[in-house]
């Protein structure tokens, strides 16, 4: 089996008396397609926030590429190869779509310290940004302000930003949330086209997508892992059916 890229060890998060994640231990390998499912309030987003570094765990540790990154900032984790998207689309609404992607590219290349050269003086990165957008079917909208895009297209831009960072591990927090039926196909295609060696952890409520995309599923309930296995095993797990699927 390939090397472990992302690992959590007994990850705990408490907010006062509220125990949001309880001793969560996970391993993610290169090429993994892991879905994290669970009812609302199960602690899925809090877990992703602890992985990406926006929420500090109360106990336990996060490991990236064999290094303990529990105390590292979000920026340091991004540089170590961890990228994420958000449950609610968070983009800069007035910036042109291509500029958003270029921002991610500038950040990846360590260029956002550069304060004198024009943003148009990096043709290779502009070409890369346009290629990324074309691959996601957004090429024609490169010059548009992001707020003019349809919601589903904005979710694609979210993914373009994450991919522009060339991550080793990608955390997708409900990529289909709020996407109208008609716009879902392009997102599904984009998910299918993710690089094969990328380790992907996806949180999603759309069970059709989860069972289609994931090769492994972890079920979270009340902050704890109650099941971890292949989609087939999870589908037939009595605890999961009782706690989550409801049949």
């Amino acid at each position: 089996m390939s090397a472990v890229l992302l690992e959590t060890r007994d990850l705990d998060k408490r907010y006062g008396g509220l125990h949001v994640t309880r001793g969560v231990s996970l391993k993610l390998h290169a090429g993994d397609r892991l879905a994290l499912i669970g009812p609302n309030g199960a602690g899925k987003t809090t877990l992703v926030n602890q992985l990406s570094g926006t929420v500090a765990p109360s106990a336990g540790s996060v490991w990236l590429n064999g290094e303990d990154v529990t105390r590292r900032s979000q920026a340091q984790r991004v540089r170590a190869g961890l990228a994420r998207t958000f449950q609610i689309t968070t983009l800069a609404p007035h910036l042109p779509v291509q500029r958003q992607v270029e921002l991610a590219l500038f950040e990846r290349e360590g260029l956002t310290k550069s304060f004198w050269r024009s943003i148009d003086a990096y043709p290779a990165l502009a070409t890369e940004a346009r290629a990324l957008l074309r691959d996601l079917g957004l090429g024609e909208h490169a010059g548009w302000p992001t707020e003019r895009l349809a919601y589903g297209e904005q979710r694609l831009v979210e993914m373009a930003l994450a991919l522009a960072l060339r991550p080793k591990v990608l955390l997708l927090d409900e990529p289909m949330a709020g996407v109208p039926q008609g716009e879902g196909a392009r997102l599904l295609a984009a998910l299918d086209a993710l690089p094969k060696d990328l380790a992907v952890l996806i949180i999603e409520h759309d069970m059709d997508l989860v069972f289609r995309f994931a090769r492994r599923i972890v079920v979270l309930a009340e902050g704890a892992v109650i099941a971890d296995g292949t989609p087939e095993a999870i589908r037939n797990d009595a605890r999961v059916r009782a706690a989550y699927l409801g049949h």
């Binding site: 609404p93 910036l95 310290k113 090429g139 024609e140």
Partner: protein, 322 residues
């Protein structure tokens, strides 16, 4: 492959274009209005100050009411330098730039830990502390009497600061054009784009790996340098630095000018400074006690009637007449 995407790709205008236009317009005013050179110098210095504020408010999205602290730091530093060290204007300007940037970096390292109203209130506090210090340090600043008694040597050793203000106006115009050019380059750089990204969405930029506070601090430092330059110019061209160069009123007026001209685009800072100063000058000459009513009305008009709507209305009227 030339696709429609290529034709739609965003491009930025050359950084020299707008500063050159501003300089040319200023030069025309210098040439055509020899009686108004004092006013032209005041407008130019104010424009540089508001430009600096636009980097903080319009570009970085940090609402401040203490920007005068950076202007005053530059003014006092340049004045004290001229009085105690050397009267060369360019050296004095460099000292003013350094003082503004230094105060911005030192205060920003503390201020930028906070957001929103807390940040806003703390900027006021920093400016008040600076004003309090300037008032107490009479030996250095002249206290309530202001700092005076310094002379500024001829520019490049040749062009004396004459009574008509010809040298002062040209000098200020040149510094404004250079400052504007630098600001344009900074805003249109990857660094500037990252700061604009932070303004629009701080959480997203952090998720891209941007060290948000470090980038904001650097922008605050640049803005401090420009504000310090404006302060130094004010000291050198007026030969006095008064306590009101650190006042809340100056910070607030600059913000009003920025809103008048439109924040975040740099040229709006210049337009706002010109409109405000001319309105002030004209209204105050008609009625020295009630000129603020005119400014208030203009501000309400700009805030309540967005420029896009005003343009639409104007075009509709013109179209109807045609």
């Amino acid at each position: 492959m030339n696709t429609s995407a290529d034709s739609q790709a965003p491009r930025v205008a050359p950084a020299w274009r707008a500063p050159l236009i501003a300089f040319a317009l200023g030069l025309a005013a210098w040439w055509l209005l020899p009686e108004q050179l004092g006013l032209l110098t005041r407008i130019t210095i104010t424009a540089l100050f508001v430009l600096s504020l636009d980097l903080v408010v319009g570009v970085a999205g940090l609402a401040t009411l203490g920007h005068a602290a950076l202007f005053g730091a530059g003014a006092y530093a340049a004045g004290i330098f001229a009085l105690r060290v050397h009267g060369d204007p360019l050296l004095g300007l460099a000292v003013g730039v350094g003082a503004g940037a230094l105060l911005a970096l030192v205060s920003g390292a503390f201020l930028l830990r906070y957001h929103g109203f807390t940040f806003l209130m703390l900027t006021v506090a920093v400016a008040q502390i600076a004003a309090g210090l300037a008032q107490k340090a009479r030996d250095w600043t002249g206290g309530d009497d202001g700092l005076s008694g310094f002379t500024v040597e001829p520019l490049f050793g040749r062009f004396a600061f004459d009574l008509e203000g010809r040298t002062a106006a040209l000098y200020a115009l040149a510094v404004l054009a250079l400052g504007y050019y630098a600001a344009r380059r900074i805003v249109d750089s990857p660094f500037g784009l990252a700061v604009r990204g932070i303004h629009e969405n701080r959480a997203r930029m952090a998720a891209l790996g941007t060290p948000v506070r470090a980038r904001l601090l650097a922008m605050y430092g640049f803005a401090g340098a420009l504000a310090g330059a404006a302060g130094a110019l004010s000291a050198q061209t007026n030969a006095i630095v008064a306590l009101d160069s650190l006042s809340f009123a100056l910070s607030a007026e600059a913000l009003v000018m920025l809103i008048l001209g439109g924040a975040g685009r740099l040229h709006g800072a210049l337009v706002g400074a010109v409109v405000f100063t001319l309105l002030h000058h004209t209204a105050a000459s008609i009625n020295p006690y009630h000129w603020l009513f005119v400014i208030g009305a203009a501000l309400m008009a700009v805030v309540l009637v967005p420029p896009a709507r005003a343009w639409g209305w104007l075009r509709g009227r013109l179209g109807a007449k045609a």
